[in-house]
């Protein structure tokens, strides 16, 4: 919710001051969530892209709009970092499960209310495994004399075929195995499955939701009635 609350003003206004306020307001959260160090790492990864955004906007717009848009990128980066670094995919899956609309859609499409959230968590989980596989495939093909960075552009793209095909097949084979493993353990089970951890909205959660709603409403209202200057 807070993510949306930050995104709405960040995308509505291209103003340096708004961005600075949004960025600063998230800093304490980074420290509370103890992800400041990892956030700094993702910032470092974003340096090149923010530099690019700055340069492009500097030449197509003005200095201040370039600063504002670069800051906007950093705000988005920070918001998403904060969200994904503090929220485990499992919790997110559980939360999705509690949303009526998701359950309804899931039952409608897939015939089972938990299927959609399960698909989401499974997909997120397979990413690190697939990354390990990718490294192994690259190693295996290099051991057969494959040189990825050899030849012209066309040749280089072709060089990736021996990497992509095994990887794709591994992913497909793994999903089929996973499906069989799930079925042999009784998936999807009966309606009304319970979970070990029940997510419940408590006082602070309502406070966050309230703050977020106020932020969204105020931003939209200001956007409709005033023109916020870039600087």
């Amino acid at each position: 919710m807070l993510v949306v609350a930050v995104l709405v003003p960040a995308l509505l206004f291209a103003s340096v001051w708004v961005m600075i306020i949004l960025l600063l307001s998230q800093l304490p959260l980074l420290f509370i969530g103890r992800v400041a160090r990892r956030w700094a790492l993702s910032l470092r990864a974003g340096v090149f892209l923010s530099g690019l955004i700055f340069v492009v906007n500097f030449f197509t717009g003005s200095l201040f709009s370039a600063i504002a848009l670069t800051l906007r990128f950093l705000v988005l980066l920070t918001t998403f970092s904060l969200f994904f670094m503090t929220t485990s995919p499992d919790d997110l899956g559980l939360a999705l499960d509690r949303i009526g609309a998701v359950r309804w859609l899931s039952r409608k499409w897939l015939g089972y209310p938990n299927a959609l959230s399960f698909t989401f968590t499974t997909a997120v989980r397979l990413v690190p495994t697939l990354a390990v596989d990718a490294q192994t495939v690259v190693d295996a093909q290099r051991s057969r004399g494959l040189e990825l960075d050899k030849g012209n552009l066309f040749r280089r793209i072709r060089n990736y075929i021996p990497i992509l095909i095994p990887l794709l097949l591994i992913a497909i084979r793994r999903s089929l195995e996973l499906a069989e493993a799930l079925e042999s353990r009784g998936f999807p089970g009966k309606e009304g499955r319970t979970s070990l951890f029940q997510l419940k909205l408590k006082g602070p959660d309502y406070a966050v939701i309230a703050v977020s709603v106020v932020m969204i409403v105020v931003s939209v209202w200001v956007f409709l009635h005033y023109r916020v200057p870039v600087f």
Binding site: S143, G145, I165, P166, R173
Partner: protein, 280 residues
């Protein structure tokens, strides 16, 4: 000659996977690297063809430092067969798969075809030459993977768990094949947990534990000693367990293979030998 001098390796994550490894591999050698899961066996294998470079110490292949030459260059001499064939199979036919390495190394089409034919024949895969590797069974895919490396005739062959998923007759074939290779002067290094295979094939055993070499010697001397096998999370081969309990009859403890066991037992039983043969 592949030479590892005081090699240590630390993964970027900070995990110290190898420390102070000294090892020499020469033509005609047959080594088995054994050790518990996570001991560093595969990491060690990847040092041999330059996929991983040592953090400290150095690895040289025929005098060339692995840090200074490309993996593709080393791959011509050092063939590394990965454990899981699914990590390398991608071609439409078994023939193309085996030809991949040869083409990478720039051999002429005639040489490629000749080598592919020979290798498929040698590994009993000739009938699958035009089949898709993905339609083969797990054990067959593993042999295609092996063939795809063998076709390039590397001087040093590194096999990561070659016996997994192979039936007993295939293992027997593999054993003979390895024997053929190292008697031709090639070096064969296999990473394995398969104590029975090692007991019968009798390579020099390098015991790896927690990233360091904790013991080495003949299969007999390593696999028949409790303190050695326990350290590497292995179990003694059946013959060794049998002779461990027969020691009180004056038989040696360090017997691991059927052949030597038979000779010793025949000698011991002496007179009764005849009745045994007539019974069977």
């Amino acid at each position: 000659m592949i030479r590892l001098e005081r090699v240590s390796f630390r993964y970027p994550s900070g995990l110290l996977a190898l420390h102070d490894i000294d090892l020499t591999i020469q033509g005609g050698d047959f080594l088995a690297i054994m050790g518990e899961n996570g001991a560093g066996k595969t990491t060690l294998a990847k040092q041999l063809n330059g996929l991983l470079k040592p953090s400290e110490g150095r690895v040289t292949v025929d005098g060339e430092d692995t840090r200074k030459v490309s993996v593709a260059h080393l791959a011509r001499k050092v063939g590394l067969v990965f454990q899981n064939p699914d990590h390398l199979l991608f071609s439409e036919t078994v023939k193309d798969e085996v030809a991949f390495g040869l083409k990478n190394f720039g051999f002429t089409p005639e040489v490629v075809e000749k080598q592919v034919g020979r290798t498929l024949e040698a590994l009993g895969l000739a009938e699958y030459a035009d089949t898709s590797p993905f339609l083969l069974s797990g054990g067959e895919r593993k042999r295609v993977a092996l063939a795809s490396i063998l076709a390039t005739e590397p001087d040093y062959l590194i096999l990561d768990e070659p016996t997994i998923g192979q039936d007993y007759q295939q293992k027997e074939r593999l054993r003979n094949f390895i024997l053929q290779l190292y008697s031709q002067g090639k070096a064969v290094v296999m990473i394995t947990h398969d104590v029975e295979f090692v007991a019968e094939a009798n390579p020099k055993v390098i015991l790896l534990s927690k990233g360091g070499i904790v013991g080495q010697g003949s299969a007999e001397s390593v696999l028949s000693r409790d303190e050695m096998v326990n350290r590497a999370s292995l179990v003694k081969p059946q013959m060794s367990r049998l002779f461990g309990s027969l020691a009180r009859f004056g038989l040696p403890r360090d017997v691991v293979d059927v052949h030597r066991a038979r000779l010793l037992l025949e000698e011991k039983l002496g007179g009764v030998k005849e009745t045994v043969t007539t019974n069977s």
